[in-house]
Symmetry: C2
Subunit: 344 residues, 2 copies
C-alpha cells in the first residue's frame, strides 16, 4: 500500500552524510513523500518536496507515517528528538525509525502510541533465531554481488539499488538485498546487520542471501561501512563473509581522501582498496572487484568524466557514476565477471 | 575471594575446541577448581581434578559455584543442559555462564535462583552505554599487543595470558585484557565483544584498552576468531581496529590446514596470514606481526621443535610455543617491536 511519509530530518536535511536516510527515501520512494521536517529550513524545498517547521505544519500535507530520516553514529537520537516523536504520535502518525534504541521499547512513546492507536516500527530490530552461518551461503542458486566502499555513506546502498534497477530493466530476475535501516525502509524487507549480536553478523548476512535467492537470480547486496573504517569495519567484514559474494563493486566518493568524521584516518588508494578487498575474500569463495562505482556528486560534469577516466586508469577496471551517467556499463562489467553464475 | 568451582563440561571435557572454557579455567584458576562434571567420564580425572557424573556426586567436593565450561558455536546450550543448571541451582550453587542466552533472563532459572538465594552471573552480558569508538584508543599511555589467529580456538587467550605472565615476572606493569567469556571468568573483568551489538564492536574494544591502560603499561589483548573465519571474522576485525594495537602476535595450531568445523575452508599459510593481518591494520595505527605463537599440543617434543623452526623459516619471525617452551623469546620479540611504546 502507498504510504504518505513525513520525513523527520531536523537539523540534517542539508547533510548528505547524516541525512542519507532522508535522501534514500526521497530518491527511491519519491511518490510517497509528502513533506520533510527541518525547522531551520522551513519554507524551502528538497527535490520539490516541501520542508516544514513542525509536525503541526506538516499536517496540511496529510502524512500517515513519520519516518526518522537521519542516521547518527551509534544510532541514538538526542533528547530534543523526543518532543518531535511525541508530536508525531500525538498527531496520529505511525512512526518508522532505524535507531539502535528501539521506539517500541520506550515506555512513554509506546504508551502514547497505544493510546493513539498508531504503530511504531523499528526497522533495525533484529529478527529472532539468528545464529552463525550454516554454509548455505555457498550453495545458493543465485549470483551474489556485494557493494563495498572506501568509507561509510559513499553510496553503497544507492549503487546497489541503481545496478538492480538496470538489471531488472534488462529482464533479469534481479534483487536488491537490504542490510541497513534505510535499505529496509526502501525495499520493505531485510535485516540491519549492524544491529545484530556481533557473533551473528555473518549468520544474519547468510539469512539475507538465502532469502534473496528465493526472490531472484542476481542479488545486489547493500554493503556496510568500510574494511579500514576505524568504527565499523567489523560489520563490513562479517557482512562480506556471510553474504559470500561472487563479485564486488567498489564504491567511492571521487576526490575524498580521509574517512568522514575521523580526521587523520586516510583512505587507501583505489588500487589498494581493490587489492585489500580481494585479499580478504574467503578461500572457499574468492571474490574479485568487478567494477568501480563512483559518486561524483561533488564535481561538475567535466570533473566527473575526468574522475571516471582516472579511476579506470588507476584500477584497470570499468568505472562509472550510475546516478549521473547510467548503470549500463557497470552492469555489463559485473555480468562479464560472473561467467559461471551469470543469469541470462 | 577464592571460589570453589564445579565446572559443568557435560559431553565436552575431552574436547579441546568446545571444552576450551573448562581448560582455561583449570589452567589459570587451578586452585579454585574442585570438580568437573561429565557423566560419560565419571571417575576419571582431568589434570588431577576429579570428574563426577552428577551435581549430587559433586557436592562431596563442596563447590560454591557451578561454571558452564563448554563453548558452543552461537553460544546457546541445548535443553539437556537445563536439567543440569536446575540441579546446580537447587543444590545452592551460584552459576557463572558465558552463553549468548543469559541465565538471568530465563524466568524459570532466575525464579529458582531467587528462591535458593544464589547468584546467576552472565559473563557475556554487554555493559550499558556502549557506542562507537571516540579515538581514545589512539591516545593511550600504554603499549597494546593483540593476539590474532589462523582460526578460532587456537590459543589466542592462552598465548595472551602466558605472555602477560612472563612480562609481569620481569617487573613490567603488564595486563591481560579479556575480550571473551572465558577470559572474563579468569581475570574477573572485561567485555565479551562477540556479544555486543555489531555496530559497537570497536567501541567495546576501545573501552577495554582504555580500562587496560588504567591498570598497566603493556596490554595483551585477547584476540577473537580469525580474519578469514567464515563465521566470526567480523568480531576479529572490529576488535582489531577498536583495540588499535601497536603489534600483533599470530597464533596457530602447528599442522592445522583447515578451519575447525568448516570443511573446505582452507587456512592461508603463515606468511600469507602475516601479510593479511598487517595489510588490514588502520593507516592511522599500522601494526606489524612481532612473533608467531605456536600451539604444538598435537605434536611430540621433536615435532614441536621442528614446527617452531619451520614457522621461523617461513615467516622470518621469532616463533615459539610459550606453553611448552616458555614465553621468554616471544616477549623479547614483542618488546623489540615496540621501540617508542615499550615499557621498561
Amino acid at each position: 500500500m502507498q504510504k504518505r511519509f513525513l520525513i523527520l530530518a531536523e537539523g540534517y536535511s542539508h547533510d548528505p552524510h547524516y541525512g542519507k536516510t532522508m535522501r534514500g527515501i526521497v530518491r527511491y520512494r519519491r511518490d510517497e513523500v509528502v513533506a520533510i521536517l527541518d525547522s531551520k529550513r522551513a519554507g524551502e524545498e528538497y527535490d520539490a518536496v516541501p520542508i516544514v517547521g513542525s509536525v503541526t505544519d506538516a499536517l496540511a500535507y496529510e502524512p500517515d507515517t513519520a519516518l526518522v530520516g537521519v542516521a547518527v553514529a551509534g544510532g541514538r537520537l538526542g533528547p530534543e528528538w523526543r518532543a518531535l516523536l511525541h508530536d508525531a504520535i500525538s498527531a496520529g502518525l505511525d512512526v518508522e525509525a532505524g535507531m539502535h534504541e528501539f521506539l517500541a521499547d520506550d515506555p512513554e512513546l509506546s504508551l502514547l502510541a497505544h493510546e493513539r492507536g498508531v504503530e511504531l516500527r523499528d526497522t533495525r530490530r533484529p529478527p529472532d533465531g539468528l545464529s552463525v552461518p550454516t554454509g548455505a551461503n555457498l550453495e545458493l542458486d543465485a549470483a551474489v554481488v556485494l557493494t563495498v566502499g572506501s568509507d561509510c555513506a559513499v553510496g553503497k546502498k544507492t549503487m546497489a539499488l541503481e545496478l538492480d534497477r538496470e538489471a531488472r530493466s534488462r529482464g533479469i530476475r534481479s534483487v536488491f538485498v537490504p542490510t541497513g535501516q534505510t535499505g529496509i525502509m526502501i525495499a520493505g524487507w531485510g535485516i540491519a546487520v549492524d544491529a545484530v549480536v556481533a557473533d551473528f553478523l555473518a549468520g544474519a548476512a547468510e539469512r539475507l542471501v538465502v532469502e534473496g535467492a528465493r526472490r531472484g537470480d542476481l542479488l545486489w547486496v547493500e554493503g556496510q561501512g568500510a574494511l579500514l573504517h576505524p568504527q565499523f569495519s567489523g560489520v563490513t567484514l562479517g557482512l562480506y563473509h556471510g553474504s559470500a559474494p561472487h563479485a564486488l563493486v567498489l564504491c567511492h566518493v571521487a576526490g575524498q581522501t580521509e574517512i568522514e568524521g575521523c580526521p587523520g584516518h586516510a583512505l587507501p588508494s583505489l588500487p589498494e582498496l581493490v587489492r585489500l578487498y580481494e585479499a580478504v575474500s574467503l578461500p572457499a569463495r574468492p571474490a574479485t572487484v568487478a567494477a568501480v562505482a563512483l559518486n561524483t556528486s561533488l564535481l561538475d560534469d567535466e570533473g566527473a568524466r575526468a574522475a571516471v577516466a582516472d579511476a579506470e586508469r588507476e584500477t584497470g577496471l570499468v568505472a562509472d557514476d550510475p546516478v549521473r551517467f547510467g548503470a549500463g556499463r557497470l552492469v555489463d562489467a559485473v555480468l562479464a565477471r560472473l561467467p559461471g553464475q551469470a543469469p541470462r
